[in-house]
């Protein structure tokens, strides 16, 4: 009976220290999200066996890999852990086939058998015709698939993916993300994927662990974390506007001395109030009627995301707002433009802090 990955450890590198508790069941994909310098790569290096823990334990499939109390450290080469590095790290002096066969050879398979099995893996990732190609001749997406095949070929209990899509251009990323989802679905072991892209997390992972500054700030099923972010970072990451405030009666939430939001909520006390950027309506002048939650603001910047513009609005209540390209043109939204925005009360979700 396999029990997947169970880790709870602490590691210090100079000024930086990381504390991480983590469980990934076999067949599940967990995304490890966090800003740069949060400790995501450090976590992967520990699990891969490239870095020893200072304190704590790592267990995989019922086998202890790290335990500081017993001074136990299983070196990387003796772990059933596959890793796809952010920069792939395909051996430049070996063909794609020999790259995939490398791990099989190291696990005692004869040369011919290893090459045959490697060929099957290349065919699985659709790269049979590139078997003899050196990595320098492969495109980013192809190199990524070779790296994935190389890591999967040894049949690891745990697959580690370090920013698997970050080295790809936007168009390729969409396509590879879909393929990766398919390959991960066919993988029986536990998967831990480091990413700073929430879309990767939402598309590929079932659970998410968010770390900031070397500590876990939030964890849970992806949808739940997206709906109820606990920090600014998580909110921005999953595209939510998040405010910490004090809830009074009738759904009033005071988020700053000047700003009070009105939501549909029975909660009182300290709360988070969150709403999606798409729930924000933007106007050139103060809208007629009297919807609640209307505020003046200035456009700080705008960037294109898919078919919509994400605006950063600054004012008494800083918000992210999504508007269609047509609306952005019609409203002539440029940085510095003074606007009004409104949020419907029933779009604001309030949950306890």
């Amino acid at each position: 009976m396999s029990e997947g990955l169970v880790a709870d450890f602490e590691v210090t590198l100079g000024e930086f220290s990381l504390r991480l508790g983590l469980t990934v069941e076999p067949g599940r994909v967990t995304a490890l999200l966090g800003p740069n310098g949060a400790g995501k790569s450090t976590a992967l290096r520990v699990l891969a066996g490239l870095l020893r823990v200072d304190r704590g334990t790592v267990r995989l499939a019922g086998r202890d890999l790290e335990d500081d109390s017993r001074d136990l450290h299983v070196p990387a080469e003796e772990r059933a852990v596959g890793m796809v590095f952010q920069d792939y790290r395909l051996f430049p002096h070996r063909s794609a086939l020999d790259n995939v066969a490398y791990g099989l050879r190291r696990r005692g398979m004869a040369r011919a058998a290893a090459r045959e099995r490697a060929g099957e893996w290349l065919s699985y990732v659709g790269l049979t015709e590139y078997a003899k190609a050196r990595p320098a001749r492969l495109s980013g997406g192809q190199a990524q698939r070779v790296a994935l095949a190389r890591a999967l070929a040894t049949g690891p209990d745990l697959l580690l993916l370090d920013e698997p899509l970050s080295a790809l251009d936007a168009a390729t990323r969409m396509q590879v993300r879909g393929e990766l989802r398919r390959y991960l679905a066919g993988f029986p072991g536990a998967v831990l994927m480091v990413t700073h892209d929430p879309v990767d997390a939402m598309v590929l992972a079932s659970d998410v662990v968010v770390i900031e500054g070397g500590a876990v700030v939030q964890r849970g099923p992806v949808a739940q974390v997206a709906a109820h972010p606990q920090t600014d970072y998580v909110a921005r990451l999953v595209g939510l506007n998040l405010y910490h405030g004090l809830a009074g009666p009738n759904g009033h939430v005071r988020v700053s001395p000047e700003v009070e939001l009105t939501a549909v909520s029975e909660l009182t006390g300290t709360v988070f109030a969150a709403f999606a950027p798409s729930a924000v309506a933007v106007f050139r002048s103060r809208p007629d009627g009297s919807p609640r939650n209307v505020f003046p603001a200035r456009v700080d910047d705008l960037e294109m995301h898919g078919g919509t513009f994400r605006l950063r609005l600054n004012g008494a209540l800083p918000v992210l707002a999504d508007v269609t390209a047509a609306a952005a043109t019609e409203l002539d939204l440029v940085p510095g433009r003074e606007v009004w925005f409104a949020v419907k009360a029933n779009e604001i979700s309030v949950y306890p802090a």
Binding site: P75, A76, R79, V81, G82, F85, D87, F91, G103, R107
Partner: protein, 264 residues
Amino acid sequence: MSRRERSGVPPVLLAPAGLAVLFLVVPLIGLFLRAPWRSLPDRVREPAIREALRLSLETATEATVVAMVLGVPLAVLLAHGRFPGRSLLRALVTVPLVLPPVVGGVALLSALGRAGFVGKRIYDITGYSLPFTTTAVVIAEAFVAMPFLVIAVEGALRGSDVRYAEAAATLGASRWTTFRTVTLPLVAPGVMAGAVLCWARALGEFGATITFAGNFPGRTQTMPLAVYQALETDPPAAIVLSMVLLIVSVAVLALLRDRWVAPS
């Protein structure tokens, strides 16, 4: 790079750079002008010259093999080892680089000579005396030339990517396997460049060889020693020998240059 792009060379440096080229080339022109071209083919076939050439090529190659077998592991230790005193060890290893070769020869004689603290024991036990043998030539050349190889290989290893070694570890390769299958193949150009440098240095070795191994034709008289001796007795022969040495060195360099020591 396009010719229309601005070059970074300040014009004021052109004159000294040109002088440097002249300085390096003029002596070689002198050698060419003085060479007895007509009698060259016959003289090269003289047994004494052929003997010296054979001895030089053999000992330089053997010294290079010794330097690689011992020097590459040392370079790995210096490049990737984690131990106190590593920089001290590196300084120690590179002493022969700056040491006048004659002093190196004296040092070898003091240690490995029949009265030396190592040589005496060897002699007492086996009755074998190292100095003034062909083996002594190889030792003297390796002593002087190995640091070139160690420094070159260490540089290549430091510049090499530990990222690939990490990837190999996650695929189940022990450190020794990783070194054999990943690290060494990736720094092969650096190792070959170091070996060529080492070989060229060994081929030209004079001071340590004549001090430690003496100057016995057929046994320890390598080409540089033969050149030196001929200069005193038969100057045209010295020029012929020099030409041969020059041609052999340049030919080897040219052969290997494209493959191994081309500038990146």
